[in-house]
C-alpha cells in the first residue's frame, strides 16, 4: 500500500505541479518536468501499481486467477 500510494501520489502531484506552472513547467529550465518524468517510472518499477494491487487483494483473502 505504501509503495503504491506513495508512487501514485508523486505521479499525480507532479502532473498537477506541471499544470500549476503552465508553460514554465514544460521547460527544462525548471525541475517540474523532471519530477513528471521521474514519477512516471516509479509507478512501474519495483513492482508495478497493478502488481501491488494484486498483492493487496491477495492479502484480503481474494484468490488471484
Amino acid at each position: 500500500m505504501a509503495k503504491l500510494f506513495g508512487s501514485e501520489t508523486y505521479a499525480r502531484l507532479s502532473n498537477q505541479g506541471m499544470q500549476i506552472m503552465g508553460g514554465y513547467g514544460y521547460s527544462l529550465e525548471y525541475d517540474m518536468q523532471r519530477h513528471f518524468r521521474d514519477s512516471r517510472i516509479i509507478t512501474v518499477s519495483a513492482g508495478s501499481s497493478q502488481m501491488q494491487r494484486t498483492v493487496i487483494s491477495r492479502a484480503m483473502g481474494l484468490k488471484v486467477v
Binding site: L4, Q50, I56, S57, G61, L62, V65
Partner: protein
C-alpha cells in the same frame, strides 16, 4: 506510528463487542424510522461511553484524543448515527473540561455522574455555516443572567440533549471578538425547538432547530470570559474533527470495505466468486489503500494533539487533512462498495446504501471539505 496503550486496546475491544451485540442489529431500523435510539444511548451510558473525557471520580476515564478516535471509529463501523450521540456529548464535556472554571466543573460534573446525560454542540445558524464568525444569536448580560435571542439550525443530537454548548454574541457586530460560549440547560423558559430536518443520511440522530426568545441563562454558565468563544472554538473545537467527522467516516469506510470484501468472496458469477476477478480485486485493493492511509493520517494527527508539544500551526492543517481525506475516502469506498454488490447494494436489504448516504453527510458537517482545504492551503501559502 499507531501505538495504543493497553487501556486503549481494551476500550477498543469492549466497544467493538458492545456495538456488535447491541447496535448492529438495530442499525437499519434506526435509519428507517429516524427515531432517536434511547435504548442505545442507555447502553452507551451504562458502559461509560457518555462520560469518557470526565475525571474518574465522575465516571470517566480522562479520555485523550486518541481514545475518543478509537471509540467513535468502532461505533461508526456499524452505525455512525449512534456514534454522533457520543461525539456531541464528548464535544461539550471536552470544552467544559478544558475551558470551564473550577466552580463550573464542581457544579456540572456531578450531573453527569449518573452517565445518562447527553449533550449537543450549538454553532450553526441559518445565515452562518462555514462563516462561523458571522453568527447573530445574541446573549446580552442583564443582571444575573444573559438574555438569549436568535435561531440555531442543523444542531446534531438536538432536542434529545440535556445540555447545549451554545456559541452566541455577547458583543453583537464585533465578529470573532464578540463571541462567547455558554452551557445552556434544556427546559429554561424561552428556549424551544423548531424544525427537525428530514435528512438523507445519519438518520436516527435528530438534526434540529433551536429557538431562543428572551431565554435567561445564568451568568455563571459563561465559559471562560466574554469574547473567548472564538478562541475556544478554534482551540478545542477544531481538534475535535479528528474524533468527530474523521473517525466517524473512517468507521464508515471500514464497515463498507469489510462488507464488500465478504460479499466478493461469496458471490458466484460465471462459476466462480466475483472476488477472483481482477476488476473486483483492484477495486477492493484501492479501497483498502485509501482506508489505511486515512487511518494513518487520523492517528498521526491525534498523536500530535495528545503529545501537546506541537504548535497549533502544525496541528491545524493535519486535522483538516484528516477530516477532508477520510470523509472523501468514505464517500469513494462506500460508492464502490455499492458497485461491488450491484443491484443488491442499491437495496435497503443490505447496509451499503445507508453507509453511502451517511458518508455524504460527513463530507459536509464538522466544517465542509471546502473549508478544510481553505485551512490547509492557508497554512501552505499564508493569508493574501
Amino acid at each position: 506510528m499507531i501505538h495504543f496503550t493497553e487501556e486503549q486496546k481494551m476500550m477498543q475491544e469492549m466497544v467493538r463487542k458492545l456495538v456488535k451485540d447491541k447496535v448492529a442489529p438495530r442499525a437499519a431500523e434506526i435509519d428507517e424510522t429516524d427515531e432517536f435510539p434511547w435504548d442505545i444511548a442507555k447502553v452507551f451510558g451504562e458502559n461509560g461511553l457518555l462520560n469518557l473525557v470526565l475525571p474518574e471520580e465522575y465516571g470517566g476515564v480522562n479520555a485523550n484524543n486518541t481514545t475518543l478516535c478509537i471509540v467513535i471509529e468502532e461505533i461508526a463501523k456499524v452505525s455512525p448515527a449512534c456514534g454522533l450521540t457520543v461525539f456531541t456529548t464528548q464535544a461539550l464535556l471536552n470544552v467544559l473540561v478544558r475551558g470551564g472554571n473550577e466552580e463550573q466543573k464542581n457544579r456540572f460534573f456531578p450531573k453527569f455522574a449518573s452517565a445518562d446525560k447527553i449533550c449537543a454542540f450549538v454553532l450553526t445558524e441559518p445565515n452562518s455555516g462555514s462563516d462561523a464568525a458571522s453568527i447573530q444569536t445574541k446573549a446580552i448580560l442583564d443582571g444575573d443572567s444573559y438574555v438569549f435571542n436568535g435561531n440555531k439550525i442543523f444542531i446534531s443530537t438536538g432536542e434529545v440533549s440535556d445540555f447545549y454548548l451554545v456559541f452566541a454574541m455577547t458583543r453583537p457586530g464585533e465578529g470573532a471578538k464578540g463571541m462567547s460560549a455558554f452551557i445552556v440547560e434544556k427546559g429554561i423558559p424561552g428556549f424551544s425547538f423548531g424544525k427537525k430536518e428530514n435528512k438523507m443520511g445519519l438518520r436516527g440522530n435528530p438534526t434540529v432547530e433551536l429557538i431562543f426568545e428572551d431565554a435567561r441563562v445564568p451568568k455563571e454558565n459563561l465559559l471562560g470570559e466574554e469574547g473567548r468563544g472564538w478562541k475556544m472554538l478554534t482551540e478545542y473545537g477544531n481538534l475535535m474533527r479528528t474524533w468527530g467527522a474523521a473517525s466517524t467516516s473512517l468507521g464508515i469506510a471500514e464497515g463498507a470495505l469489510e462488507y464488500a470484501t465478504g460479499y466478493a468472496r461469496e458471490r458466484i458469477q460465471f462459476g466462480r466468486p466475483i472476488g477472483s476477478f481482477q476488476a473486483i480485486q483492484f477495486m477492493l485493493a484501492d479501497m483498502a489503500i485509501l482506508t489505511e492511509a486515512a487511518r494513518s493520517l487520523i492517528y498521526r494527527a491525534s498523536w500530535m494533539i495528545d503529545q501537546g508539544t506541537e504548535s497549533s500551526s502544525k496541528i491545524e492543517p493535519m486535522v483538516s487533512m484528516a477530516k477532508c481525506f477520510t470523509t472523501d475516502t468514505a464517500m469513494k469506498v462506500t460508492t464502490d462498495a455499492v458497485q461491488i454488490l450491484g443491484g443488491y447494494g442499491y437495496t435497503k436489504d443490505y447496509p451499503l446504501e445507508r453507509m453511502m448516504r451517511d458518508a455524504k453527510g460527513v463530507q459536509i458537517f464538522d466544517g465542509t471539505n471546502q473549508i478544510q482545504r481553505v485551512i490547509i492551503s492557508r497554512n501552505l501559502l499564508g493569508k493574501f
